[in-house]
Amino acid sequence: MKNMEEKHEVRRSRCDIREETDSIIMRLEMPGVNKSGLNVNVEGDKLIIDGKRIQDTREGEWLVREIRPGDFHMEYTIDKTIDRGSIEASLKQGILTLTLGLSESVKPRKIDVISK
């Protein structure tokens, strides 16, 4: 807490999470982040999302300042229901969509009943 000005600020993005039949869809609003600034990692039970924003040149006088400064950083805990091998990410117009595939064991399975 020594110097607030120099502290690297992080912000959390607005997030929608919904369930589809065989996947979980996460939708995160990350305005100002492009593909090269985005990093999505899975470390053990943690899904870590980092988004570096393209910083505007800050010279000049601020007349209105509502956009929170700082890069995006979010951590989510994922459990065994998520198949680590089938996580897909796409970034479009500042929206990151993550498709987390559910593992085979939790997917609904249809069992054929044979009548004799």
Binding site: C15, N34, D56, V64, E66, I67, Q93
Partner: protein
Amino acid sequence: MELMKRNPRKSDDAWNNLMTLQREINSLFENDFFPASDGLFDRTYSPAVDVVEKADEYLVSCELPGMAESDIDVQVADNVLTIKGEKKDDSEDSGKRWYKRETWQGSFQRTIPLPSGIESDKIRGELENGMLRLTLPKREEVKPKQITVKVK
């Protein structure tokens, strides 16, 4: 006479610590975490805006994630900048299980009063990575001029 030290207070000074705390608390209020709305038709939910004045132009940034050019309408009339549009949700809402819903949908409008002296026909706008950036150049007569004074 000896020269005075510029900052005679030591770092472990209790008063100095108190001043540091005050400064840190004040810095919490420097950023508007929630977009403020001043315009008559502005909604509570509206995209955050930054306005920066430079020597020869004004820069307006607006966070519009997930929006296409066709969803946004930018107008300048009588020195009032209006950014309006419709934020649509691409996913259908039928019978899905939501765990979290933090984003907002719907139409929005932001009106920003501009200082006079803007060349309104030279305003440029670009939309990239969900950020709208507008460049509003100042008129020649309001730009700060460097006047060199010759010393004889």
